[in-house]
Symmetry: C2
Subunit: 201 residues, 2 copies
Amino acid sequence: MTLSELAEAANLPVATVKYYLREGLLPPGTPVTRTRADYGAGHLDRLRLVRALVDAAGLSIADARRIVAVVDDPPQRRSELLGIAHGALPSRHRDHEVSDEARRFVAGLGWTIDPDTPALHDLTGALEAARTAGIPVGTDQLTAMADGCATIAEADVDLALTSGDASDAVRVATAGTVLTDPIVAAMRRLAHQHVARRRLD
Amino acid sequence: MTLSELAEAANLPVATVKYYLREGLLPPGTPVTRTRADYGAGHLDRLRLVRALVDAAGLSIADARRIVAVVDDPPQRRSELLGIAHGALPSRHRDHEVSDEARRFVAGLGWTIDPDTPALHDLTGALEAARTAGIPVGTDQLTAMADGCATIAEADVDLALTSGDASDAVRVATAGTVLTDPIVAAMRRLAHQHVARRRLD
């Protein structure tokens, strides 16, 4: 299909598609004439993925590009897959030094974690932000979050490891994680209602 | 303290504090002279809360104002607390019609949920966004999310219900939820590593 057909199929303005092409978020089409290229179903899938990352997940263009890059060039060793996927995820507090509390807490769980993984920096920064705002997050709550997330992670890893080839697996481990965070957030609110109703009855 | 002392204590520009005052996010100080007012520790706490909502949690001024309003005028009946708190939380997909899948899924869990709660709209919208992007979220993953979030919610509700007066409880149930969503997200990524290492060993 032509660029304008591609834009129409993705329900996006032509200018947006051209912008994604310039920014390297969408690979070039197959040249047909000097000024025309042909785009296929893979381009449409990619466009929908990029759109969801930028729009639904609210990623910056740079963050979306990092995910697209690792999907296009996935690690060949399965054992490296998740570490590399995590390195490509946006991290809000990457420059925040990991606190002793965060390290001790994770060590206490018996989890084997890369000591410099972005999620440890993010855990530190997010804990500090909540407490500065007067929300007293304690060990009980952190332990419940770790237990709950371990349950969720079993299904997440299943989905990533059974998702076709290495590129699919990385796509699920990166885009799949940021795009399902809002599902987890919605489910947490539903669970609040369920638990509160039961307690107050 | 004066307005500039308050701004300094909160590490914010005076203009930002004035803006929050104008927007109703910070209550006025006690008038001292015609042009000067006095601000107390409560103002500083409020400023830190608003700052975290806008900055760390990324809420709009309108969304932050909705949370501050319910903290300042909390429901007096404990049974109404969480419903009202949830109504004050930002909802991305509030206008999205709740899908049959979302209703059936929650009913299947045996959870009693307000049929029009924003979280059901958000669940529908987030599921649709993930799938449109090519992430195949199925019942297994949703069930794991529900189980994991139920574990997390027990601790969340504990914290809200043991947090002093009604205003504190609403603050924890609203601001506490949006400010700890990033902690849950970081913990989920750490759990991914833990589970993947164990499976691949």
